[in-house]
């Protein structure tokens, strides 16, 4: 007798995926009738999915779903949790912004759920076809969302650019997938061996390029500043965090498969010429991101470049050096990055104003805001300190883990470059703080006091410090607990 097609375990593992996709459908559909409470509706699905995802953190062994196309394991659960957290933040901070525009429609939230379902799928698969499907599922809603602000022509421009270049990158990834299939005769990356080395390497590299584009690694980053700048700020925040989590998560899964020397991705990681590419990419990405951020006066654009720089630090963790890919470091850093970037963007949302339909986010307008709005000032300072990697924030601890891991893998020169870059970044991260606290003007500034914005930034501040320096207190998880989850998620990879 055949084994049962569907088991209870499989169903339980599949539910979060299904909930997200179904949630997107339901929210969008219901929005056609009642478009008011979209955020709440979507949040309901999201929390439900989160709740169903949580038990998966303790899975002994990965569960294969849909004929092995998708794997639910501790890794995908942890990454999924982070993605959902990022989505939750987006749901919380969006309504005040959309209300200002008068376009608080349910579709917006439905699209976020669709995108999230793509991302969760993206980090849970080793199947090339599903990978591509998930990539498109996550990207297409984002194209739409970045153009959501129809009153601002920069938003439309951002959407168009993102769409065009994103299509190119998808095509590149697809082409790479075709080459991989051609070389190895399978679309399951876990089972790929042998094949023509030239074709396999080329295919693997093209697939990698698709990822590099999504994470905005230099020189595939050109779209990022324009898109991040033009998109509605909650979407920028969502994109900057969740897409990075998704791409790095998926890459972790794929690279961890490259243990066997015959796997095409092993060529990328350890091949004689190819192995030099990743270090160069990391150096270029962090340096260019930081150097460009240095001269930005628009805080949104500055954060866009900073997110490029952080992609560079994260790339460091993907370089195996004399060891293996540093999954633990990357996961912890992604968590810290999620909180600090979302937090910083939340403050930007609270402070941004409109001028003739355009969003204005220049730093200089907020002189002295730290004294007039103490909470926002302190919160922003915490986020920026964390982004700069100053203790006792999670940003520092994440950098410490990544960099020390890299040193142990014999990548000291790269770490030196990364540390120099961090030093450089302090300059531009502290500049808003300086403006907030050390200058003053009499011009009144309008600040959005929406409760949801305060809640979001408070949550980010607390979590950032909590998971940056506090031990487990009683049954409350602290840094050790997070490190434990990160470690067990990393251990789920082969």
């Amino acid at each position: 007798m055949n084994p049962p097609l569907v088991t209870g375990d499989m169903l339980r593992a599949a539910i979060p995926f299904i909930l997200l996709a179904a949630g997107g459908t339901v929210v969008s559909l219901a929005g056609a009738w009642r478009s008011k409470r979209g955020a709440l509706f979507a949040a309901l699905f999201l929390v439900l999915a989160f709740w169903k995802l949580f038990p998966l953190l303790d899975l002994e062994k990965g569960i294969e779903l849909w004929d092995g196309a998708v794997v639910a394991d501790r890794m995908s659960a942890f990454l999924g949790g982070m993605l959902l957290l990022s989505g939750l933040f987006a749901l919380i901070v969006s309504p005040p912004v959309l209300r200002r525009e008068g376009r608080n429609r349910a579709e917006y939230y439905g699209l976020i759920l669709f995108s999230l379902s793509g991302m969760v799928l993206f980090v849970s698969t080793t199947n090339l076809l599903v990978l591509f499907l998930a990539l498109e599922l996550m990207s297409i809603p984002l194209y739409v969302l970045s153009g959501y602000n129809r009153g601002d022509d920069r938003s439309g421009e951002a959407a168009l650019k993102y769409f065009l270049l994103g299509s190119f990158s998808s095509a590149i990834l697809l082409y790479g997938a075709a080459l991989l299939f051609g070389a190895t005769g399978t679309i399951n990356m876990a089972a790929m061996t042998g094949g023509d080395p030239l074709l396999a390497t080329a295919g693997a590299f093209l697939v990698l390029t698709g990822f590099l584009f999504k994470m905005a690694a230099v020189p595939f980053h050109m779209w990022a500043p324009d898109v991040y700048d033009g998109a509605p700020t909650p979407i920028t925040s969502f994109m900057a965090t969740s897409v990075k989590i998704a791409t790095f998560g998926a890459l972790l899964r794929i690279f961890s498969l490259a243990g066997g020397a015959a796997n095409p991705f092993a060529h990328i990681l350890t091949g004689e010429n190819a192995a030099k590419i990743l270090p160069w990419l990391a150096v270029m990405t962090m340096t260019l991101g930081n150097v460009c951020a240095l001269t930005q006066t628009n805080i949104k654009r500055m954060l866009a470049y900073s997110s490029i720089a952080h992609a560079g630090y994260l790339l460091l963790g993907l370089i195996p050096g004399s060891g293996a890919v540093d999954a633990k470091g990357i996961l912890y850093y992604l968590f810290a990055y999620l909180l600090m970037t979302t937090g910083a963007f939340t403050v930007v949302i609270a402070l941004s104003t409109r001028d003739k339909g355009r969003e204005v986010t220049g730093v200089e307008r907020y002189a002295g805001i730290g004294f007039r709005r103490p909470f926002l000032g302190i919160a922003m300072a915490v986020f920026l300190f964390s982004l700069a990697g100053i203790p006792p924030t999670a940003g520092f601890f994440g950098k410490y883990l990544l960099f020390s891991g890299a040193v142990h893998r014999g990548l000291t020169p790269l770490v030196v470059v990364a540390v120099l870059n961090s030093a450089l970044s302090v300059y531009y991260y502290l500049r808003p703080v300086v403006v907030f606290y050390m200058r003053d003007t009499d011009t009144p500034v309008r600040v959005d006091d929406a409760l949801s914005l305060r809640v979001a930034s408070l949550a980010a501040v607390v979590l950032l410090i909590w998971f940056g320096c506090l031990p487990n207190i009683g049954s409350l998880p602290g840094v050790p607990a997070l490190l434990h989850w990160v470690g067990s998620a990393a251990a789920a990879l082969p």
Binding site: E157, L160, K161, L164, L165, F168, S169, I172, L198, T201, A202, F205, L206, T209, F213, P219, F220, M222, W223, P225, D226, I268, G271, N273, A274, K276, I277, L288, V291, C292, L294, T295, L424
Partner: protein, 656 residues
């Protein structure tokens, strides 16, 4: 309450007082109210008084314990747990710390009480009392900590408080700068102490767990190579040189007179300067095996004793005279601990606390009565105007000059005898040399102290002294108590040679017995016999008399002589009056070169040209890069796509 908890409360009470007064002061400043003087004073005095009572309890408890096992330990919490290094905060009272405890809380308490009168007209009294209590708290941490780390916390804490209190009247730039000077000079020494501690950790880490707990260091002394032992000893001594005002870092102490006079008394008598001596006595087991370091302590101490005494002769400011006398007496204490006679050194700390506090508080009383006149040449005849102040001052002067049977006689004599009969393996000449310098210094001490007394208290009233009158009981009660102490405490340490039992040394013996267990590199050789000891004692009395008579002759009988001497040897006089130009020498040798180096080279060239240059270059460079990149970041999607594919092409070509 158990002894252990009372140990904790001894430390906490002053801290509590500091917190209450500090918060009150801040709140008062915030709402523009005035704090009633009685309130802050009562709060400030309550802490030390209760702490003193508890300290007496601890002392009694220690007395009740078996000899050699007299210890009260209170483990509070684990502070640092980092790899192979662990540090707990533990309070420990043994005979040595008990003595210091009584001095700090007792004399400190009296000074607090005195301050109520002295600061009654000052606006900032609440802040003042908060600092004063904090000072006491840190000093108690320093004494009661069982490891060098907690000692260091207290050490730095008293440094901070001395800065705050010396610069208490910070509206006056000179006074604020004196505070800074004290702080900075102390930092130089602290640096040595810190290095010494790190050296201990690294050395011990090689053979197990790094630790700074004093008892464990003593236990594992064998793990130190001899050279390292010497290095540790010298580095720790560097800290003591700063804190206990030895050559060449004593320069901060005379300037510390800028603070309110009770603060000077606190710094000089009960806290701060004795910390260095205490620390060396605490680490005595280490110095026993480090003859070179001990020899250096000895020589520096002796030189300081003489040198400061010489400077003291030509000072006209009443507080400056006392300040240099403190430096000189600290030199004696260093001789004591340097020759391995730790009990003698601590005994001098103990007696000195009484007579120096008495002298300073007496000086404060005088200054208060004279409306802030400090020049002794403008005083005179004060003994009649202020009898209580004058007579107590006389008792303390007799004590410091070393007249038997006052306390200073016994403690100073003990030190000089130990120096005379002591040995040092590394510097064999050092003990006798120290004895010689110490004896000359004793002569000078009697001379300058009586010069001060005769000029200020005898003769005809001059200037404001005419209208001076006795101060309030806030002043006189502590003076009387301290004078009694200065007179009588010597009997605790009467040497056996004159029929005493030296109870003080017996009390401390268990703490230092490890000192004489191991190496015999240094230590008092009990050679020479009783005859020599009695002879020396008699000599000391003669010397004290000689100094006094000389002062009497010069400043009471033939008052024109000193002026004539000064006229005939102007160079010598100015040299002494201007403190041998040590500060100027330090200024020329260290500060000026450093400042001009900073200004000419480091600032104008290194900072402006090179550092700023690099920064500017980086700025220009990144701006240039940004400009170039802006050229690329056109906003044209075609350009982006072009770059994307070009990059892809290049990478593919490289990869394949």
């Amino acid at each position: 309450m158990t002894v252990e908890t009372s140990l904790l409360w001894i430390v906490l009470l002053p801290l509590l007082g500091a917190a209450v007064n500090g918060i009150t002061a801040a709140a008062a400043a915030r709402w523009g109210k005035k704090v009633p003087h009685g309130f802050s004073g009562a709060v400030a005095v309550a802490g030390p008084t209760l702490a003193f009572l508890l300290a007496v309890g601890v002392f009694r408890a220690l007395q009740g314990m078996e000899e050699g096992h007299a210890l009260v330990v209170n483990e509070l919490f684990r502070w640092i747990d980092a790899g192979r290094f662990r540090a707990d905060v533990t309070l420990l009272a043994d005979p040595l710390s008990a003595v210091m405890l009584l001095v700090v809380t007792g004399i400190g308490g009296l000074i607090h009480y005195y301050s109520i009168g002295y600061m009654s007209h000052d606006e900032g009294h609440t802040r003042y009392f908060a600092y004063l209590n904090l000072f006491l708290f840190f000093m108690l941490m320093l004494i009661l900590g069982d490891s060098l780390l907690t000692l260091f916390v207290g050490w730095e804490g008293v440094g901070l408080c001395s800065y705050l209190l010396i610069g208490f009247w910070f509206e006056d730039t000179e006074k604020a700068q004196a505070g800074m000077k004290a702080f900075v000079v102390n930092r130089i020494g602290d640096f040595g102490l810190l290095l010494g501690m790190l050296l201990i950790i690294t050395t011990l880490s090689a053979g197990g767990e790094g630790t700074l707990v004093v008892r464990e260091i003593a236990h594992r002394l064998g793990e130190f190579p001899p050279g390292v032992l010497e290095a540790v000893g010298l580095l720790l001594f560097a800290g003591a040189v700063g804190k206990s005002a030895q050559i060449p870092l004593y320069i901060w102490l005379p300037d510390a007179m800028a603070g309110p006079t009770p603060v000077s008394a606190l710094i000089h008598a009960a806290t701060m300067v004795t910390a260095g001596v205490y620390m060396i006595a605490r680490m005595g087991f280490l110095y026993d095996h480090a003859p070179l370091a001990s020899g250096v302590v000895l020589v520096v101490g002796a030189a300081t004793a003489l040198f400061a005494a010489i400077i003291g002769i030509a000072q006209n400011d009443i507080k400056k005279v006392l300040a240099y006398s403190t430096v000189s007496q600290l030199g004696y204490m260093m001789i004591g601990v340097g020759v391995g006679a730790y009990a003698a050194g601590i005994f001098h700390v103990f007696t000195h606390a009484f007579f120096k506090a008495c002298l300073f508080l007496g000086a404060g009383s005088v200054i208060h009565a004279m409306h802030h006149e400090q020049d002794i040449r403008k005083m005179g005849g004060l003994l009649k105007k202020m009898p209580l102040t004058g007579w107590t001052f006389l008792v303390a002067t007799l004590a410091i000059a070393g007249f038997p049977p006052l306390s200073g006689f016994f403690s100073k004599d003990e030190i000089l005898w130990k120096a005379f009969s002591g040995e040092n393996a590394a510097l064999p000449w050092a003990p006798r040399f120290a004895w010689l310098l110490g004896t000359i210094a004793a002569l000078l001490t009697a001379f300058y102290m009586f010069r001060l007394f005769f000029t200020a208290f005898l003769g005809k009233p001059r200037g404001k002294a005419v209208e001076a009158h006795e101060s309030s009981p806030f002043f006189t009660v502590p003076l009387v108590i301290l004078a009694l102490g200065a007179a009588l405490t010597g009997f605790l340490g009467v040497p056996s040679v004159v029929g005493g039992s030296n109870r003080f040394e017996h009390w401390l013996a268990p703490v230092f017995e490890t000192s004489h267990g191991g190496g015999e590199a240094i230590g008092a050789a009990h050679a020479g016999g009783h005859g020599v000891e009695i002879g020396l004692m008699a000599g000391a009395v003669v010397i004290a008399l000689l100094g006094t008579l000389l002062a009497y002759f010069l400043y009471v009988k033939r008052k024109e002589v000193p002026g004539r001497i000064a006229e005939r040897h102007p160079a010598l006089y100015t040299l002494v009056r201007d403190k041998f130009y040590v500060y100027e020498a330090v200024f020329a040798a260290v500060i000026y070169p450093v400042v001009s180096l900073s200004r000419r080279l480091l600032w104008r060239i290194v900072d402006v040209r090179i550092v700023d240059g690099i920064v500017n270059l980086a700025g220009h460079l990144s701006r240039g890069v940004s400009y170039t990149l802006r050229f690329v970041q056109t906003g044209q999607v075609q350009t982006y796509a072009f770059i994307l594919f070009t990059a892809l092409g290049i990478f593919l070509w490289k990869v394949l």
